[in-house]
């Protein structure tokens, strides 16, 4: 038995005093000598199931569960267990677990919390390798100890636990509905993983209403054992699941999650996440700009994007995208044609295309040649192709056929507006006939706008596995998601191996260890400068001095103009403390600034330890950017890039990546900020040295990844000069991780 315990010291304010409270928390429970069952196939494709807590009472979870299993078409063997015995839904009820035969694949426990551990033990004795604990009342209400003991007990038998606090699983492969949710579930290609029980059940109902077919539904609950990682492993190999939709509220091992997604999920599958709960920035004070900008939700978005995970803002959005991924292929190219019978929705679709990053085909000659004969004289071949309000089945079929036949066209968006003169059903039929003829060769999404009959058409198309939506925006949003996936896969193909830059990590660690030994969490300027130098990150020339004489001498050696800054681990934001003087052009200005800085800092921070004054070259010109590094509790080291300067936290024009990254990826980051046009030369400004910036970001990412003790790094601003003239950091602030005792 191996126990791994971590001791936390939690600090509480009580009676205005800070009191430590030691908490002993087993982070990993017993890893028994028996190998833990990794294969989840018996969970989703069991040949036999034992239900501990089956009930004959209608309305009870144990009853609904059994009813769903029996009525879902499951043809495996079901063993209900209840001390009262008897028969429920035609199944013989066993009085105890001991009475069960050996060799059962799956156990489901739905009994009061205090009996669960015993039940798990007995199921283990019977050789059951997977158990779903539906019962709640464990870590979600603070009863973590009991939950850990259950997992420990299971571990002794090499058993895996799903839950506790789950609603069960649905598996289309096994035709098994082992949930206490709705009984009506359509079969399909979408695997749904939910961290929320109630929402998960509600989503089952919603998918049925919207004709979204599911390959599996699984509720992860408290994730005491089986977690997202295990399920990703399973669904990555499951040929029935084309889309993995996850509703999550938290993700402890974010790094592991995205690594697994990047390595295990095949290109033809997509992961769509609805991530709820915008978390707070944390109780500890965040000293750096990078740290304060790296709110957890922003980090999640960046990390997911980096791993090709699509993040939906709402359940509807996730459903819309899932529909597209499960019923239409990824586009072959970027050229999209919209076919519409209404100018209005055509315009809306053009707006939506721009919003979702979908490029409409612009080659007027080609469009005219291809579609001229499909439109009446008063129609339009300018994309959107307007086949006009008179268009019926024939016109739609003609136009769609042309689009489907053309290899030039990567994707088709078909829009229909109810007109009153056209038979809606006929138009829907036209669409279906095209899909019958062409199969699944062309990416296509549709939006039908109208009343009840139009709605019926949409449902009918959906039942025939065609991506049809009630709103143009939904159709375009889904197409946009397909394109994002495609672009991610294209990028992944191009991705070179990431070569680590040449950095003297050992020397960097020595500097940090020295600071740690002195009880500091913030490095001094000369220490931080040295680290940048060792990491190959260019910085404005400078040095730290302790006398006015040396300040003047340094200014003269560096060359005017210079900048003077206070150096003190107790003063983080120098300009706010009056500890910064810019653009000093001669000795007198240096002398005055030196006095002013000391005076200001001594009066604002009388207890600050002032180590000296930094004299540095004043970098004129260039565009101010910020490059930062931060440690995220879930994803580990992160790198940030954005528009810099003193207003960085107000404008928040920044992007993140999980470190380390390649130079090419760093270059991509630069292209993602809103202010990118400024860097490439907007309004007559010259283009800035983006390669130099990318190199700094790339090196920063490695610095964060390889030096474990760094908590945050801020290089703000980094001046990006004209192309070929490089980029340099003006200032640096490095914080070390606080060690928990």
């Amino acid at each position: 038995m191996i126990f791994i315990n971590i001791i936390y010291v939690r600090l509480h304010f009580e009676d205005s005093c800070l009191n430590p409270k030691v908490i002993l928390r087993p982070m990993f429970t017993a890893i028994s000598m028996a190998e833990k069952e990794k294969d989840l196939i018996p969970l989703f494709e069991p040949d036999s199931i034992a239900i501990v807590g089956a009930s004959s009472k209608k309305g009870k979870v144990g009853n609904i569960l059994l009813s769903n299993i029996v009525n879902s078409g499951y043809d495996g063997v079901v063993y209900p267990i209840n001390p009262k015995g008897g028969e429920i839904y035609g199944k013989e009820v066993y009085g105890s677990i001991e009475e069960l035969p050996d060799g059962i694949d799956l156990g489901i426990v739905v009994i009061p919390a205090k009996y669960v551990r015993e039940a798990v033990h007995k199921l283990g004795e019977k050789g059951i390798k997977h158990t779903i604990v539906i019962t709640s009342g464990f870590s979600e209400i603070g009863n973590t100890d009991e939950e850990n003991l259950i997992v420990e007990e299971a571990g002794k038998h090499g058993m895996r636990i799903l839950g506790p606090n789950v609603f069960g699983i649905y598996s289309a492969k096994a035709e098994l509905n082992a949930t206490f949710g709705p009984s009506d579930v359509s079969k399909g290609e979408i695997a749904l993983i939910s961290q929320s029980g109630a929402l998960g059940i509600a989503m089952i109902g919603k998918t049925a209403m919207q004709y979204l077919g599911l390959s599996a539904i699984v509720s992860v609950g408290n994730k005491a054992d089986i977690d997202d990682m295990d399920l990703i492993d399973y669904f990555a190999d499951d040929d029935e699941s084309k889309v993995i939709m996850i509703y999550m509220e938290g993700l402890e091992n974010g790094r592991e999650f995205i690594d697994k997604v990047e390595s295990e999920i095949p290109p033809e599958k997509a992961i769509i996440v609805i991530k709820a709960g915008r978390s707070e920035k944390g109780a500890t004070a965040v000293a750096s700009h990078t740290g304060s900008l790296a709110g957890s939700d922003r980090v999640f978005s960046s990390a997911f994007k980096q791993a090709g995970i699509l993040r939906a803002d709402t359940i509807n959005e996730a459903f819309n995208w899932s529909r597209a991924f499960s019923s239409t292929p990824l586009p072959e190219n970027d050229k999209v044609v919209v076919i519409t019978n209404g100018g209005g929705i055509g315009v809306l679709s053009a707006d939506a295309a721009e919003k979702y990053g979908v490029d409409l085909l612009d080659d007027q000659t080609f469009l005219k040649e291809t579609f001229e004969e499909t439109i009446p004289p008063f129609g339009s071949t300018k994309n959107p192709i307007d086949i006009t309000g008179q268009a019926g089945k024939e016109e739609y079929e003609k136009a769609l056929r042309k689009a489907f036949e053309s290899d030039e066209i990567g994707a088709v968006v078909g829009l229909y507006c109810e007109t009153g003169t056209t038979d809606d059903g006929e138009v829907a039929n036209a669409v279906k006939e095209i899909h019958d003829d062409f199969g699944n060769e062309k990416t296509a999404v549709y939006a039908f706008t109208g009343g009840e009959e139009v709605n019926d058409c949409i449902q009918w198309l959906r039942k025939n596995n065609i991506s049809a939506y009630t709103e143009t925006d939904d159709a375009m949003s889904s197409l946009g998601a397909l394109y994002r996936r495609k672009r991610y896969l294209d990028r992944k193909e191009e991705m070179e191996d990431i070569d680590a830059p040449d950095m003297d990590i050992e020397s960097i660690n020595e500097i940090i260890n020295r600071a740690v030994s002195q009880g500091r969490v913030n490095l001094l300027e000369d220490e931080a400068r040295k680290i940048l130098d060792l990491a190959g990150i260019p910085m404005a020339e400078g040095r730290v001095v302790n006398t006015l004489e040396d300040a003047v001498k340094a200014a003269e050696e560096i060359g005017y103009p210079v900048v003077l800054k206070v150096v003190s681990e107790d003063i983080m934001h120098k300009s706010d403390a009056g500890g910064l003087a810019l653009d000093l052009e001669n000795e007198k200005e240096v002398v005055d600034a030196y006095q002013a800085i000391y005076s200001n800092c001594k009066s604002k921070y009388p207890n600050a330890h002032i180590r000296g004054i930094s004299v540095a070259e004043m970098l004129k010109g260039g565009e101010e950017t910020i490059v930062g590094g931060t440690w995220d509790n879930s994803f580990g080291p992160m790198v940030m890039f954005g528009l810099g300067g003193v207003y960085v936290e107000i404008l928040e024009d920044v992007v993140f990546r999980v470190a380390p990254i390649s130079k090419r990826e760093a270059r991509r980051m630069i292209g993602e900020i809103n202010a990118f046009p400024v860097l490439v030369g907007a309004r007559g400004q010259s283009r800035k040295d983006l390669d130099a910036l990318a190199d700094i970001i790339y090196r920063m990412s490695f610095l964060m990844d390889e030096v474990d003790d760094i908590s945050e790094i801020d290089l703000n601003p980094i001046k990006a000069f004209d192309q070929g003239k490089g980029a340099k950091s003006v200032d640096v602030a490095i914080s070390i991780k606080r060690k928990v005792i």
């Binding site: 006398t547 006015l548 004489e549 003047v552 934001h573 300009s575 706010d576 403390a577 009056g578 003087a581 653009d583 000093l584 200005e589 002398v591 005055d592 600034a593 030196y594 006095q595 002013a596 000391y598 005076s599 200001n600 604002k604 936290e649």
Partner: protein, 343 residues
């Protein structure tokens, strides 16, 4: 007329205030020098002293601001001068100033020992400039007497006479007259003025507080000249705040988190001079508009509430050139209480 050195027994004794009062007795005859600046303003790469700026304005002096101070930090004085050259510099500066005025009021450091190592303390100055020394003392009766005794012993040992002492910011003039004056005069030092505490002189302008905190004005610029008499930290619920008696005082400065919209909103009344918003958090735009309309400055600072309040509390309640009302009070209420003969 002899130059007049004004020194103080301890910091914040009111040396500048007494200096103004004396200067105003013969406004067109005095120039001003503060060799060792201690109230620096650093703007646009220029370093000048608040008090120097004030005297230049009151006495209508023509010299550039930089002429009134030699340095602000020991390091600067030691860098630029040695014992011989600093004395030469001071003499030279005094000579220049006496070309336009009869005499120079020389304000020394925050207390009489400041500047000793660089020969800018009152004793050193007196030894190389033709001058009289006036001391300003403050504190309770016993501490004032102790301070004056110490000064007297030291000055006697140096064989330097003190022209007189002004007892400033006293709680009870009568008490001092009855119990302190005789003892002080028994040391051979004339008590040339007893000045009571004047509340108005401790008022501060919002603009000054903003400058000292390096704040950013988010709204209500029209109210930057508002005076602050009381400081209130708004850390509890808005309901409790409005019921607190200290909150009812006028000319109050509220210090609260920028995210405390409830407190900020409750503070926008005629008794509030300004609101300091801490932690760099800006309130919603509707609150900003209301503050603008009410003419109540909202000042955003990156400090936490405790630190902001602490700094405001520790701020010197100095007189600046915008404080006409203070200068008028000094002229009307303090100057007449000082009985000094000019030689």
């Amino acid at each position: 007329m002899k130059n007049l050195i004004i020194a103080s027994t301890r910091p914040d004794a009111g040396k500048t205030t007494v200096g103004i009062a004396i200067a105003m007795m013969k406004k067109d005859r005095f120039n001003y020098l503060k060799p060792f600046g201690d109230r620096p303003i650093y703007k646009k790469k220029r370093l000048i002293d608040y008090d120097a700026k004030l005297f230049k304005n009151i006495l209508n002096l023509k010299e550039d601001y930089e002429k009134f101070c030699i340095g602000f930090d020991h390091s600067k004085i030691k860098y630029a001068y040695d014992e011989k050259t600093i004395k030469e510099k001071i003499r030279e500066r005094i000579e220049e100033m006496r070309e336009t005025r009869d005499s120079v009021i020389i304000e020394t450091g925050s207390e009489w020992t400041v500047g000793s190592s660089i020969h800018l303390d009152p004793i050193s100055l007196n030894q190389y400039i033709d001058s009289d020394i006036v001391f300003v003392a403050t504190g309770d009766r016993t501490s004032m007497i102790d301070d004056i005794h110490t000064v007297s012993k030291y000055f006697d040992a140096q064989d330097i006479s003190i022209k007189g002492v002004v007892l400033n910011q006293v709680e009870s003039v009568e008490d001092i007259q009855n119990f302190a004056v005789d003892e002080i005069e028994g040391l051979g030092i004339d008590v040339i003025g007893i000045i009571p505490e004047i509340d108005e002189l401790s008022l501060t302008r919002v603009s000054f507080i903003n400058d000292m905190l390096f704040g950013k004005i988010v709204a209500g610029e029209a109210g930057l000249n508002n005076l602050v008499e009381n400081v209130f930290v708004g850390a509890m619920s808005a309901e409790k705040i409005v019921r607190n008696p200290h909150y009812q005082k006028r000319r109050k400065l509220i210090v609260t988190g920028g995210d405390r919209s409830d407190v900020v909103l409750a503070s926008l009344d005629e008794k509030t001079s300004a609101v300091v918003l801490t932690n760099d958090i800006i309130p919603p735009s509707n609150i900003i508009s209301r503050a603008d309309r009410a003419g109540i400055p909202l000042i955003s600072v990156p400090l936490d509430t405790f630190e902001a309040a602490r700094r405001i509390e520790r701020m010197d309640r100095i007189t600046t050139i915008e404080d006409d009302f203070k200068i008028e009070r000094i002229k009307e209420d303090i100057a007449p209480k000082i009985d000094i003969r000019f030689d």
